[in-house]
């Protein structure tokens, strides 16, 4: 099975790093889409099936917390796993995201294996162990 990813970060450099990490992860990647903020991410999500959203929190226009909250209100977390990769280390904010359904929250700078493990576990949890 192959998977569609959406990388949400206002830094194009970070999106490149995330894309490269996924490419080297060994996962079957059928598509990697990019968005620079939550509004762009919702636009992509409205147009195609996405298996995993990897999102930053601190972004212009619509931040990552607002993105996840909107995805919850639209019922998108049932079909799309969310992994947060952010500089934000505030415990209350990260607990809020986990309570909303974000699978894992990683701190930047992240190690490639941390992201790969988190994405793999998120897919496994979403598909009941098939990832």
């Amino acid at each position: 099975m192959s998977y569609e990813f959406l990388l949400v970060d206002d830094s194009s450099i970070t999106r490149k790093v995330l894309r490269r990490t996924l490419r080297m992860s060994g996962l079957e990647v059928s598509g990697v889409h990019e968005a620079a903020n939550g509004i762009e991410a919702l636009d992509v999500l409205s147009q195609r099936r996405i298996d995993v959203v990897v999102t930053d929190l601190n972004m212009p226009a619509m931040d990552g917390v607002q993105l996840v909250e909107t995805m919850v209100s639209l019922g998108r977390l049932a079909e799309t796993a969310v992994v947060v990769v952010s500089s934000d280390r505030n415990i209350a904010r990260l607990d809020h995201l986990r309570a909303l359904g974000a699978f894992r929250c990683l701190a930047k700078p992240f190690r490639p294996e941390e992201l790969c493990d988190s994405v793999t576990e998120a897919l496994r949890a979403r598909t009941g162990g098939a990832a």
């Binding site: 206002d10 830094s11 194009s12 450099i13 970070t14 490149k16 790093v17 490269r20 601190n58 972004m59 212009p60 952010s86 500089s87 934000d88 280390r89 505030n90 415990i91 209350a92 904010r93 701190a107 930047k108 700078p109 190690r111």
Partner: protein, 149 residues
């Protein structure tokens, strides 16, 4: 939290760990380095129980090295300066997240701003300031300004 309790060591550790973790660059703190007028610089705000800004400055050449290391590829970018500036912004974003947690605790709710490009300038009296030198002799300076309560 009082201003006196903010340790330069925490800021230096945050910078060193981000440079190593994100760009595979080892750097140690050095004393007395002034910001060069040829440096590129960026600033990010933070707000919460304490408010202020964090500034970073380094040479365009070292910013390009950071970008190259973060991306894991040799630089053949025709717009190397822009890529270096963006890498510096992302590094600053990581440093402020790390440092705010170290300085004020992860339990305190802080909102981080977005990095913006600024002109380089030396630290003002009372600002927390550290400079770190990488193995190749390049220097990164980071300065924290805490607003008065």
């Amino acid at each position: 939290m009082s201003r006196q309790s903010l340790a330069p060591r925490d800021l230096g550790l945050a910078v060193a760990e981000v440079l190593e973790g994100a760009a595979f660059l080892c750097a140690d703190t050095v004393d007395g380095r002034q910001v060069s007028h040829g440096d590129i610089a960026a600033e990010i705000s933070f707000s919460g129980p304490r408010c202020g800004t964090l500034r970073i400055a380094t040479s365009p050449v070292f910013a390009a090295v950071i970008a190259s290391n973060v991306l894991g590829e040799d630089s053949d970018d025709p717009d190397e300066k822009a890529t270096g500036t963006e890498a510096l912004h992302e590094i600053l974003n990581m440093i402020v997240g790390d440092w705010v947690a170290r300085a004020f605790g992860s339990d305190s709710v802080y909102t981080l701003g977005l990095p913006v490009e600024i002109g380089p300038r030396d630290p003002l009296p009372g600002e927390l300031s550290v400079s770190l030198m990488a193995d190749d002799g390049s220097v990164v300076s980071v300065c924290a300004h805490i607003d008065d309560p």
